[in-house]
Symmetry: C2
Subunit: 350 residues, 2 copies
């Protein structure tokens, strides 16, 4: 399969997602990550929202058991996920897909593996009431708890004005915080900006191999998750595309029908949002089902099931080295102090 | 029961714990919390240990599932515990006793509710292999994981020298970090040091009531957890002492035999380490079984079951106000960056 065919394949993918071929990036148009993440018009990122959002992001009392915060599965002290194939929520329950990293999630135009919501604001609400994640019965229950924590009120007021303790504002604050969780200035970014010593020889070779093999057909753009799109327009790819190989069965890649489960459309079968490759060295295990626990194997698999190519061990090693140049640096973050409910626990009965 | 009788009762408690009556504190000898916590001779607190210890304390990969860190049950963004009656460990399993706060745990001379180990170093090892906490099969398994994280090695070397990646040093580092988790300079501390405006009128009244009622018989000393003792000598009290009241049954206070389960001695039945009252407004629910979720009720109960006194609502409110003066301020802590295992997860198969 040559590059023209790959691009044709992507065009059809892109059309399926409802965008025009004209918005496709040039082949291997290397971009550094912006220093500031985009935000939707109705939720500009402010310091007050970020401060509140960080508290809410780290607060396990949002969950029914008081044990699961956003950070439990999207750990910002690590690669922004949880090192597990699938996450473990309240009462030790496990979900069906691997937690995507929160780092640079601000650069996605849709959220979740299947792109079923547009914005981080929408995403933040989902896990709260998911029975295998935070397990809350409904958002009213959650907001009753948040309102019962007196220390949160002034932070909501500062961020959103008076009478603003709503689930929508909770989600806006969390999303605003998440938009600060970005990692510009990786070795790759510095290289692209002109510091030719930022990457070593193997990483530069891997970058070339990455492009020549066709990885950039999908993993393009500043976050290596496809071309820049308006919020709500997703960039999807069929995974796996080539199934006549050992991997589909070995890693059970066909079990999850991806976006079809969200849209009900047969055309969306096995379509997944193209994930970012930034910080991928820190986010094992890999893929929507977390079935591959080795980045080299993940690279080899991708070349085969998406491009029908057999990479040599050297090519794999070079690409893995290049991917390492996409990791970090992570900003230093101060722990929030979670406001107390004086002399009373909100989750004691759960 | 007058104060003399209370003190006599405490003396017998103290003898039971193997210390002399001479080491009892003067009645209501108010002390501010030291600015530095004591450390055992073989583990002086150093910046390198604290830095490593903070990383290990926050690292959920120590647990079998990759979901439970020390911080999960002893959350330093909150009151140093988890807001739950009993904690939830791996696979949603729950334990038998409520997680004590880590804040100021450095000022205990023994650890755990039953004082079954002497030092924070010993304590840190326990939950790792507890099947309902971190669920590791053994410490060798844990250390194999830690050794497989390349980024930890230089931190161990800086803290303990070469070839130092052992479970004992892991525990020493965590303990060193925990010795920095102290909260001097609360309103109470400032008051005791001479700032007479640091506490309000109700808090001062509550402080007097607290002493006059006899609470200081056990809750004495800088951390309100009894007199200063050498490491390994515990300060215990029988709880409940008076059982001819509604509380023992209502809150199931007799089910747990306390220190007897650790020593096998009938004399230790229902003996518990006297817990600190610092930051108690932030550590609901209360008692070894987490059965009381209201600080006012906890104060009323304590007066009855330990002192056989019926406090008035005003006395309870005043004491609760005073206890609020023992809370915080908490130091600002930067999140550690947990070193990655590049391209591979250590807990993917768990």
């Amino acid at each position: 399969m040559n590059h023209k065919n790959i691009i044709r394949s992507i065009v059809s993918v892109t059309f399926a997602a409802g965008i025009s071929a004209a918005s496709l990036p040039a082949f291997a148009n290397w971009e550094a990550l912006p220093e500031v993440a985009p935000a939707p018009k109705d939720n500009p990122t402010t310091a007050a929202k970020v401060e509140l959002g960080k508290m809410l992001y780290m607060d396990p009392r949002i969950s029914s058991t008081g044990t699961v915060s956003c950070n439990s599965c999207h750990n910002i002290m690590e690669g922004g996920d949880d090192s597990r194939p699938v996450s473990m929520g309240v009462h030790g329950k496990t979900g069906g897909r691997s937690a995507p990293t929160v780092w640079n999630s601000a650069f996605y135009s849709v959220q979740f593996w299947d792109g079923r919501v547009d914005l981080l604001e929408d995403q933040a609400k989902g896990p709260i009431t998911n029975p295998v994640e935070m397990g809350e019965p409904d958002h009213d229950h959650t907001m009753a708890k948040i309102k019962a924590i007196p220390g949160y009120k002034p932070y909501f007021e500062k961020a959103f004005g008076s009478d603003s303790m709503t689930i929508d504002n909770l989600a806006k604050a969390i999303a605003a915080f998440e938009r600060t969780l970005i990692t510009p200035n990786s070795a790759y970014d510095r290289y692209v900006k002109g510091d030719k010593k930022a990457m070593n020889a193997q990483q530069i070779r891997g970058m070339e191999t990455f492009a020549q093999a066709g990885c950039t057909s999908c993993h393009s753009g500043a976050a290596f998750n496809g071309p820049k799109m308006p919020f709500g327009k997703g960039f999807y790819a069929k995974f796996p595309t080539f199934t006549d190989n050992k991997y589909s069965k070995q890693y059970n890649l066909m079990a999850d029908k991806g976006r079809e489960a969200a849209t009900g459309k047969a055309a969306d079968a096995h379509m997944f949002r193209v994930p970012t490759l930034r910080n991928i060295t820190d986010t094992a295990p890999y893929f929507h089902n977390g079935s591959v626990n080795d980045l080299s194997e993940a690279v080899r698999l991708m070349a085969k099931v998406q491009l029908n190519k057999d990479l040599s061990d050297k090519e794999v090693a070079d690409i893995v080295a290049f991917l390492g140049a996409l990791t970090g640096p992570y900003p230093e973050i101060t722990m929030p102090r979670l406001p107390a409910t004086s002399g009373k626990s909100l989750v004691a009965g759960e």
